[in-house]
């Protein structure tokens, strides 16, 4: 059976899995942004926290994803079988690029611009919201882009703990040694990663301000 035949016969299921996959990636990335951007901002205000926080995020990054899913299963509230556990794990992976790029983006703002802003009498909040975040946005978006693309790939493994998504086909295909089935999951996941990369790349360039 060819891939196209497979899609034609199972269109309902395919769309359902694509939907699950998108929702895993979207919700985990959104949560990681909500958590990670403030942490990145805090690091620019408390330089002493930078090394330990980025170090910890780095350590999380090194845990193999399948192992992390496994570790989370026995934990109460955030663990167990299903989408919640998968989202928690995906958030953990997405945090590092977002925290790091938020810090880098804000730290990269021209010191003269910051000094002028403070010298004109901007409060720390005004400086952050009107100057640092808009100017750092492109770098922050680059972090979000990396996090999203990685997340699309990692989310396929979430099928192993019953979270659904396109990994369902991949695991099924591996189990029954059926390349068509593996491709049926892998191809849309790859396209999804490319689309996220392209769209966020556009947004990134839109907010890249030319230095003077």
């Amino acid at each position: 059976m060819s891939l196209w035949e497979f899609y034609a016969r199972n269109s309902g299921e395919v769309l359902g899995l694509v939907g699950q996959h998108v929702s895993l990636v979207a919700s985990s990335t959104a949560i990681a942004i909500v958590l990670g951007v403030p942490v990145g901002i805090a690091l620019t205000r408390r330089p002493a926290w930078r090394a330990p926080v980025l170090g910890l995020a780095n350590v999380f990054q090194t845990i193999p994803s399948l192992a992390l899913f496994g570790f989370l299963i026995p934990l109460p509230f955030i663990g167990g079988i299903g989408a919640t556990t998968a989202i928690v794990a995906l958030v953990v992976y997405a945090l590092l690029p977002i925290v790091r790029n938020t810090y880098t983006g804000l730290a990269g703002v021209d010191p003269a611009v910051r000094e002028a802003g403070r010298g004109m009498g901007m409060t720390d909040w005004q400086l952050l919201t009107q100057v640092e975040l808009p100017l750092g946005l492109s770098v922050i978006l680059a972090g979000v882009r990396v996090a999203t693309v990685v997340s699309v790939g990692t989310a396929t493994i979430a099928a192993a703990i019953g979270a659904g998504g396109l990994g369902v086909y991949i695991f099924r295909g591996v189990a029954v040694v059926d390349n068509t089935l593996i491709l049926a999951g892998a191809l849309p996941a790859a396209l999804m990663a490319l689309a996220a990369d392209g769209l966020l790349g556009l947004a990134e360039r839109r907010f890249a301000w030319r230095a003077t």
Partner: protein, 250 residues
């Protein structure tokens, strides 16, 4: 009328290493006193690292003085919130520091906007100021900083500093990064501009010719201390070794 700027016994000691510890005993600025009247331009002259820029930052509290007192138009700088204080003091730096994501108009209107002026009044003020610094508002208001030349950028920087009509203007080597021709052009314009405006100004430079050209009085700084304070005429005749060194370089 109150004096725009009074500085009394101003000092800045580098902080000690540990928390809650006394200062390090190293002073970047030590016991500096001067006053600047309306329409007066005090040029702080000195070598790199002599404490001129630090003195400016102590006036608008980008650095907190460890000793001494600053009064702006009679009010103690220390008693005002730092942000309020800075909005009443124009600040121009060598690197200009225009916001690259703001148009020229938004850059110039920054302080009025922070002060909550009505938008029509800001628009009007921006046009007025661009004219003051010799830029045509129709041509430049909607441009971004990267579309300007270095000289135009610093004109915008000066306009931004003047926006809320502060009684005092601090300028830190404003023409230092410009090419020689543009620099002389802006220096000449600045000379006429300051007569028209009547603001009190503190102008930091290491260029003695620029200092002599623009100063009502010159304050010479050396190793954090004000070693000479007087008119350009007195400066030329001063027999302080540092004054002589600077005059020899002119």
């Amino acid at each position: 009328m109150t004096t725009p700027l009074e500085v009394q016994g101003l000092g800045y000691e580098l902080p000690g290493k540990g928390k809650g510890e006394a200062g390090s005993g190293r002073f970047l600025v030590h016991d500096v006193s001067f006053t600047v009247g309306a329409g007066e331009t005090l040029v702080l002259l000195g070598r790199s690292g002599s404490g001129k820029t630090t003195t400016l930052k102590l006036i608008n509290r980008l650095l907190e003085p460890t000793t001494g007192e600053v009064r702006i138009a009679g009010a103690r700088a220390r008693d005002l919130a730092a942000t309020r204080l800075r909005r009443r003091i124009g600040y121009v730096i060598q690197e200009v520091g225009l916001f690259p994501h703001f148009t020229v108009a938004r850059n110039v209107g920054l302080v009025p906007r922070l002060e909550g002026w009505e938008p029509p009044r800001i628009v009007e003020r921006v046009r007025e100021l661009l004219a003051v610094v010799g830029l045509d508002a129709d041509t430049f208001a909607l441009r971004y900083p990267h579309q300007l030349s270095g000289g135009q950028r610093q004109r915008v920087g000066v306009a931004r500093a003047l926006a809320a009509d502060p009684p005092l203007l601090l300028l830190d080597e404003p023409f230092g990064a410009l090419d020689p021709i543009t620099r002389v052009e802006l220096q000449r314009e600045f000379q006429t501009l300051k007569q028209r405006l009547g603001q009190a100004m503190v102008f930091v430079t290491h260029d003695v010719r620029e200092g002599l050209m623009l100063a009502t009085r010159i304050g010479l700084m050396q190793q954090g201390r004000l070693v000479f304070l007087g008119t350009p005429q007195e400066f030329r005749q001063s027999d302080h070794p540092e004054s002589k060194a600077f005059m020899a370089a002119a």
